[in-house]
């Protein structure tokens, strides 16, 4: 939005509230979302020079309502209908936004009829208050592509007959799962893109944390929402140390832990400790607990691998998957030695999702290196470098392989 940071933060905070007020007043989520976006853009242009109005939310709601009415009139004209006085008068202002409007919006944006990419784009615009151009820059795709995703998403929501109200309790749990997945996806996109020519990109990890924090405020007793927030905080805390000055990946074992964000770690550890004590355990909480164990070790050698192994075994029962299995094997190797890890790796390598995956090769390379098999490790690092889809990982894996070149 390119307004000063204070104004931009305020606009992002108000975006879902203004949108919710409009939807309550006029219905039709799609047009209300466009009108809200226009009001946000107008504010970003006018407020820095004219000053922030005394009632910013009122200002945005008034402007957005005007834009909505303009659009409505255009639509009416297009249908060759005569404008009547009744049609020109704005409908009665409905009730103000309810506390859980943001939750209702999130659930709507992550509606099951949408593709993942559309859920992400719509969530960032309607709830996050980002512009289409900002979302496009963040995902390195053309603006037109994002605009299409958003307009197609709105069409699908309309076609599905979804309404702006909270789903039933039973449906809500399932739908909330989709919201958490979208927030985690946004976080990971920002997290993995923190290297390379990415300076102009909107800070997606920070945005995901902000939205998850909002959700946590709305649902303080939901263990998985708290777990996801803790996981994000504990992972993001390592960001300053996870890339070198040239953007190269620094593995966990070699990170300068003094550069980790101690405040974020304290918040994340406090949150996950309280949550594990009070809520039914879930996959995000277990991943947060694992991140907490890593973050609490003063040095890599101090890592409590016994505890990490136990947590991965628990996670593997609750939410089995190829990456969980691979991480569990790394923990086995750290507790029982690289040979034990390599034996389990040999047993797991044919599993669907792992066969041919670069992470399998990377783990094998790492364990072979620990076991002292330099040539085997070098070959496996090279194989992993060929198979990864990430430029940063490719550079890292190539550099590990290069270090193991035969000694002359």
């Amino acid at each position: 939005m390119s307004a000063p940071a204070g104004i931009e933060d305020l606009l992002r905070e108000l975006a879902p509230q203004v949108l919710a007020t409009l939807v309550r007043r006029y219905g039709d989520f799609g047009t209300c979302e466009d009108a809200t976006q226009e009001a946000l853009l107008a504010a970003a242009l006018q407020w820095p020079a004219a000053g922030t109005p005394a009632n910013p939310r009122g200002w945005l709601t008034t402007v957005a309502s005007r834009r909505w009415i303009e659009r409505w009139r255009q639509e009416a004209a297009r249908r060759r209908r005569e404008e009547t006085a009744a049609a020109l008068a704005p409908p009665d202002p409905g009730p103000g936004p309810a506390a859980d409007d943001t939750l209702t919006l999130l659930l709507l944006c992550c509606h099951p009829s949408l593709t993942e990419a559309s859920q992400v784009a719509l969530t960032l615009r309607a709830v996050g208050g980002l512009t289409t151009a900002e979302i496009a820059r963040a995902f390195l795709v053309p603006e037109a592509t994002v605009a299409q995703r958003i307009s197609r998403a709105k069409q699908r929501i309309r076609a599905s007959g979804a309404e702006f109200r909270l789903p039933s309790e039973a449906e809500r749990a399932e739908r909330l799962g989709a919201v958490l997945q979208v927030l985690y996806l946004i976080f990971n996109e920002g997290y993995t893109a923190s290297s390379g020519p990415a300076l102009a990109r909107v800070e997606l990890s920070g945005e995901a944390i902000r939205l998850t924090r909002q959700l946590h405020r709305l649902l303080p007793d939901d263990g998985e929402v708290a777990g996801l927030l803790a996981l994000m905080l504990l992972t993001d805390a390592r960001r300053p140390a996870r890339t070198g000055p040239d953007g190269a990946l620094v593995p966990l074992a070699e990170q300068d832990r003094a550069r980790w964000d101690a405040q974020a770690i304290a918040e994340g550890v406090g949150l996950i400790t309280r949550t594990l004590a009070s809520a039914p355990v879930g996959p995000y909480q277990l991943q947060a607990a694992i991140a907490a164990v890593h973050d609490e070790a003063a040095r890599f050698e101090d890592t409590d691998w016994d505890q990490i192994l136990g947590l991965y075994e628990h996670l593997g029962r609750l939410a089995p998957g190829p990456m969980v299995e691979l991480n569990r094997i790394v923990a086995v190797a750290m507790v029982h030695g690289p040979e034990a890890g390599l034996r389990q790796l040999a047993a797991a390598e044919a599993r669907p999702g792992l066969a041919g995956h670069h992470r399998l090769d990377a783990v094998r390379a790492h364990l072979l290196e620990l076991a002292g098999d330099r040539e085997g490790a070098r070959v496996a690092y090279r194989q992993a470098a060929r198979r990864t889809l990430s430029l940063a990982e490719q550079r890292y894996l190539e550099s590990r392989a290069a270090r193991l070149r035969p000694l002359q």
Partner: protein, 123 residues
């Protein structure tokens, strides 16, 4: 995830295309346009282009600081790049599903290649 879908031509596919009537060729173009429009409306298409005839290819080389170009075509019998789609889809399966809808896929002339992302996971 971004994928580049590469469409090749070979002597067999070129012969089929040249044997088409004007109406059949127009139908072929309409099919491609409709597919591109559908993918654009989905928000899955980044860009698609068809390449001009391979005989217009210029191979560029720099020798001793001098730029030298040589003209194509390069071996009639070989498979030649004819066009491409740059896609952004949720899954690799989806990219393959789209690629399978290209008529050239029936002749085995379509490839899907993942694009490298900038960032990476901590190891």
């Amino acid at each position: 995830m971004k994928y580049l879908v590469l469409i090749y031509s070979n002597p067999a596919s070129r012969e089929i295309w040249e044997s088409f009537s004007d109406e059949q060729q127009a139908e072929g173009f309409r099919y491609y346009n409709a597919l591109a429009e559908e993918l654009a409306a989905n928000g899955e298409l980044i860009v698609t282009e068809a390449l001009a005839d391979a005989s217009l290819t210029k191979r560029v080389s720099v020798r001793d600081g001098q730029t030298v170009t040589s003209d194509g075509p390069f071996a009639e019998a070989k498979e030649l790049l004819a066009g491409f789609f740059l896609l952004d889809c949720d899954t690799p399966e989806r990219a393959v599903e789209i690629a399978a809808r290209l008529p050239e896929a029936e002749l085995g002339l379509v490839e899907v290649r993942p694009i490298l992302q900038l960032g990476g996971q901590e190891m």
